[in-house]
């Protein structure tokens, strides 16, 4: 596993292009586009103000930079660096800006959700969509980019409009049976639209593309309801996370519940593997020293820091042994420094494997506050739909991995601090997570690994995202970013 050197970024704006070739980062009001492989700067664009939002177009040719405060959107082209486009929403304000799936239209949502403005880069045409609803997820494009579903609110009733993205033709417009629609999401095959009500009521409605109500699902009443919802990549399952700390899985044929996954404070399932991270501090000085050496060294050299020698009483060599080396870039003439750390903390890095029953730390939410920190807030299916990762807010440091074939708990990953972000490898059943410290955690059916990010000055991983090939990861710190390269072929030294 290799790590790149650290780059600056701001607002955690750092995205890899959909084709996987470029890496765009925002630093204050500058947009930097690099080559993913060499990390060389290819383009540098300067915007009018500090960038708040940045997004690649689907064809990886354009980048949208939004400056909400100024109501401005700037678009940059990779092919023609001198091409530019500036959209000014004017005094009406701007709260959200995004690309349409074709990469030729920009959808801006104005302040107060007055309207959605659709700007065409082809014809300069502007169209407005009125009455968009301000909610959790009021707009969703189908995976094939053909249709857009938009939640609307008119006369105190919820409606859904389905547009054809090609020419923004309104295909369907129907009222939904919701009290207060909270979100909508297309199934990956683009034929079913899942609509859920606000948390005050547990209600999930499934609409066909043509606006027919296929099914309604409600697990219970008189309690806080749906917190999150996600489709499996195969469109076969619909996972609904709710405030009762359960995930319910619906099937795509009868739209009935197949199973429900509980998140108990005591894991009793003997088949589930519980990984528990235990704080064990390796000597930091040697790490610093090695990093220091690297920063000083101009030529290729190896530094080995064996804290294990000092830390023999703990007996865990793997826990604190890692090798840091500086090596030459393989690409181009320009010297680029990679920090290679291998072998890193290996399996089972999250300390011993615990056999259930295992007690999991639970933080009781304050019942008097709105939006209590309880319930399943994050759900993610692996790319092959084989696994489902969930996080319950009352156990923020724990990620649960469920096997969708056996419909049972596969693993429980307990960390020392709250999990900030987790994401599945887009190619393999491999889960990457971060907890806001200097470690990267990886889970795969084979086991669990945690890797110390070998960078200077306390790089704290706040967020991460995979490269589309699944070979590398972007790790985002507060003001920095760094790339982590997964090497499958153990090319050591």
């Amino acid at each position: 596993m290799n790590f790149s050197e650290v780059f600056k970024q701001s607002n955690q704006l750092c995205k890899i292009s959909p084709d996987g070739k470029y890496l765009a980062t925002c630093v204050q009001y500058r947009l930097v586009v690099r080559d993913v492989n060499t990390l060389q700067i290819l383009h540098l664009y300067t915007c009018l103000d500090q960038i708040v939002h940045m997004e690649w177009s689907s064809d990886s040719l354009f980048i949208l930079c939004a400056m909400y405060k100024r109501g401005l959107v700037q678009v940059w082209s990779l092919e023609q660096p001198d091409w530019h486009c500036k959209i000014d929403e004017g005094s009406i304000g701007l709260v959200s800006s995004r690309w349409s799936p074709d990469g030729r239209h920009i959808l801006n949502t104005t302040e107060f959700h007055l309207r959605v403005t659709v700007w065409s880069l082809c014809t300069k045409a502007v169209s407005y969509i009125k009455y968009p609803k301000a909610c959790q997820k009021g707009m969703d494009f189908s995976r094939d980019g053909c249709y857009m579903a938009l939640a609307e609110r008119r006369d105190c009733k919820d409606y859904v409009s389905v547009f054809v993205c090609d020419d923004w033709h309104l295909l369907r417009h129907f009222e939904t049976e919701t009290q207060d629609l909270a979100g909508l999401e297309w199934s990956p095959n683009g034929c079913v639209l899942a609509v859920w009500d606000s948390c005050l009521e547990y209600k999930v409605l499934l609409y066909s593309l043509d606006g027919r109500l296929l099914s309604t699902y409600s697990a219970y009443e008189w309690s806080l309801g749906v917190k999150s919802l996600t489709w499996s990549t195969s469109s076969q399952f619909l996972a609904i996370g709710s405030y009762d700390e359960k995930v319910r899985i619906l099937n795509h044929i009868t739209w009935k519940k197949i199973t429900e996954f509980e998140h108990p404070a005591t894991v009793n399932n003997p088949k589930a593997v519980v990984y528990k991270e235990v704080e064990r501090r390796p000597t930091v000085a040697s790490d610093d020293l090695s990093i220091h050496n690297i920063s000083m060294g101009s030529t290729l050299f190896n530094t080995q820091s064996k804290c294990a020698a000092k830390d023999k009483e703990t007996g865990d060599l793997r826990d604190c042994y890692f090798k840091v080396m500086l090596c030459k870039s393989k690409f181009g003439g320009k010297r680029n420094s990679f920090i290679k750390a291998s072998p890193l903390l290996l399996w089972p890095a999250l300390d011993e494997i615990y056999q259930p029953p295992v007690q999991i730390p639970v933080v009781k939410p304050d019942p008097d506050r709105a939006n209590p920190k309880i319930g399943v807030s994050t759900l993610a299916f692996s790319s092959d739909s084989r696994y489902l990762a969930t996080k319950n807010d009352s156990m923020a440091s724990v990620v649960w991995v469920w096997d969708m074939q056996k419909l049972s708990l596969e693993a429980v990953l307990e960390h020392t601090s709250a999990v900030r972000c987790f994401q599945w490898d887009p190619r393999r059943p491999r889960l990457a997570l971060c907890t806001g410290n200097a470690k990267l955690y990886l889970w795969s059916p084979a086991g669990c690994v945690s890797v110390q990010v070998p960078t200077e000055g306390g790089f704290q991983v706040q967020s991460l995202s995979w490269h589309c090939s699944g070979d590398s990861l972007i790790l985002l710190g507060k003001e920095q970013l760094c790339l982590c390269y997964m090497d499958t072929d153990q090319e050591d030294n």
Binding site: D102, C122, G190
Partner: protein
């Protein structure tokens, strides 16, 4: 006796006791001076006591003298009275003690009971108090409940009103909001916001390379079409997937059914035996099923056919039910056997059954024997006793017929034996004749040999010998040996003959008359001395080949020959040792 009397007595006692104790003291009751007074006093006293006071008076005239008899009488009476009184006193005292103790007891119990009474009274009052309190509490609680209920109702109504108010308000607010938004939008549009603009260097081509199209009704229709197409595609996909799954499941069902049938069909006979009533039904349905199974191609052909599907599921269900019942039966049987085994040890069960069976069979045999016996007896009786001629004749006929049959059989056997004997005799005579011939030849040989011997003495030995050997048969070539070994004796020769495959005429000659065994050997009916160790059959075959001339070889003969051969072997061994 009254307490006053008692008191009197006590006083009397004291008065009596005092003088007694103080008799020696000066103040005695009676002194020399006051005797008459004393007497009179005593008299009075006695009189007062109801006794005869006269006894004392007699002596009063003479002063101090006292008439003894009445005095003694009086004294005696007094003593008696005293004793009686003492007795009664004791009794009374005892009584008193008793009564006092009972009284005390009574008093104690009384006081205790009084205490108890007090206590219970207090308790009662306490309970009364608590009851009162509880009732009070209940009353208060009831009132509380009522108020609470009221409160709840009130709250509910408040909540409802608030909810409606809220929803109403929110709706109102929302409406206002939308109105505001609209107004804002209107204003913004009216204001002709100059800033609202897009500034593009040059327009981009569409990502798919096409040019944008005008919005027309046709476009809408085409969009609809697209949408339905995609929906249709999805449904088709799902349908095909389901079909595939269905087919798979059906296959599994078919296989299951086939296996079930195959499992169940061999059990039919036993099940029929065990449960005759339902086995017929089963067999019937089985045949049906087999027919169905027999045509799987038909099944696959109209897989989607509703009817076929139903049939399939029905048959599966049926089979499954049968399998279940069968399994249950097996289970129950197994449990039965288990319980039996538990009741009596594991080994005891079969033995017991065995014994039982044996006993039963023995009984049966006995019964049969008895039956036969009685039948025989009856027959005998019938034969012996005088019964009608017809049946007798019939029976006789029966018996004679049977006898005749048996005789015929025996006759046949006899005939056969006779024939065998005849054959043997013929063989024997033939052998004898052959022997005679050989003997003759031998004699001739001998003669020639003697002649040779005789001639040997002459110088023309060699030539003649050669001519002679040429003329001899191969069987007799052995004779040349003794010629070489001149020292041979006839006994040695016989010994060697037993070793030799052929029994030479010389040996026979030396033995004189040939034994039967030798004869047989000569006839090759028995193998030579070395061969009996081999299989008997080989020897039989040998004999049969030799006896090719004889048409028939009976198995009986064979056996006999076998026996003989063994016998002869034994003889040979004897001769060898």
């Amino acid at each position: 006796m009254s307490p006053s009397g008692q008191n009197n007595l006590a006083s009397m006692y004291s008065s009596l006791a005092l003088p007694k104790s103080s008799y020696n003291v000066l103040s005695a009751f009676c002194t020399e001076d006051n005797i008459p007074q004393c007497i009179s006093y005593i008299n009075q006293e006695i009189a007062s006591l109801g006794l005869s006071s006269t006894c004392m008076e007699a002596g009063s005239a003479e002063g101090a003298s006292l008439s003894t008899v009445p005095a003694l009488n009086a004294m005696y009476e007094l003593l008696q009275a005293h004793r009686r009184s003492r007795c009664s006193l004791e009794e009374l005292e005892r009584d008193q003690l008793k009564s006092s103790s009972t009284l005390e007891h009574m008093q104690i119990s009384n006081s205790r009971l009084k205490d108890q009474l007090e206590l219970s009274k207090r308790e009662k009052s306490g309970l009364h108090e608590t009851e009162r309190q509880l009732q009070l509490k209940i009353r208060t609680l009831q009132s509380c409940l009522k108020t609470e209920k009221d409160e709840v109702q009130k709250l509910q109504s408040i909540i409802a009103s608030r909810a409606s108010q809220y929803s109403h308000d929110s709706k109102r607010k929302e409406r206002e909001c939308t109105k505001l938004k609209e107004r804002l939008g209107q204003l913004l549009i009216d204001k002709r916001d100059k800033k609202l603009a897009i500034d593009v260097l040059n327009y981009l081509g569409r990502s798919d390379g096409r040019r944008s199209q005008w919005k027309t009704a046709k476009m809408g229709a085409s969009h609809e079409g697209e949408m339905y197409k995609s929906l249709l595609n999805d449904y088709e996909e799902r349908h095909s997937a389901l079909m595939l799954e269905n087919a798979e499941l059906k296959k599994v069902l078919q296989q299951m059914k086939r296996e079930m049938v195959s499992i169940l069909s061999p059990r039919k006979p036993c099940s029929r035996g065990a449960h005759a009533d339902d086995s017929y039904e089963q067999a019937g349905s089985d045949r049906e099923e087999e027919e169905e199974v027999g045509g799987p191609s038909r099944e696959t052909l109209d897989q989607s056919c509703e009817h076929a599907k139903e049939q399939l599921t029905n048959s599966i269900r049926q089979q499954w039910r049968r399998l279940k019942s069968h399994m249950e039966r097996l289970d129950s049987q197994a449990s039965l056997v288990q319980t039996q085994q538990q009741q009596s040890g594991k080994e005891a069960v079969p033995r017991e059954i065995h014994n039982e069976e044996m006993e039963r069979m023995r009984l049966e045999v006995q019964q049969c024997k008895d039956f036969i016996h009685t039948q025989q007896q009856l027959l005998q009786q019938q034969l012996n006793s005088s019964f009608d001629d017809e049946t007798a004749a019939l029976l006789n006929d029966c018996y004679t017929l049977e006898e005749k049959e048996r005789l015929k059989e025996e006759w046949r056997l006899f005939e056969e034996q006779k024939r065998n004997f005849e054959r043997e005799r013929k063989n024997f005579t033939e052998a004898a004749i052959r022997l005679g011939h050989e003997k003759k030849a031998f004699e001739e040989d001998r003669a020639s040999w003697l002649k040779n011997q005789f001639l040997n003495m002459t110088p023309f030995v060699d030539r003649k010998r050669q001519s002679l050997s040429d003329s001899q048969s191969s069987a007799l070539s052995i004779k040349s040996e003794p010629e070489v070994r001149v020292s041979y004796t006839p006994t040695q020769l016989t010994k060697s003959s037993t070793y030799a495959t052929f029994s030479t005429p010389k040996a026979a000659h030396s033995a004189g008359v040939p034994s039967t065994a030798e004869l047989y050997r000569t006839l090759r009916l028995i193998p030579d001395s070395s061969s009996p160790r081999h299989s008997k059959r080989g020897s039989w075959q040998e004999s049969s080949t030799i006896q090719a001339a004889d048409a028939l070889v009976n198995s009986k003969h064979r056996i006999r020959y076998g026996e003989l051969s063994i016998f002869s072997v034994g003889k040979d061994e004897n001769s060898l040792t």
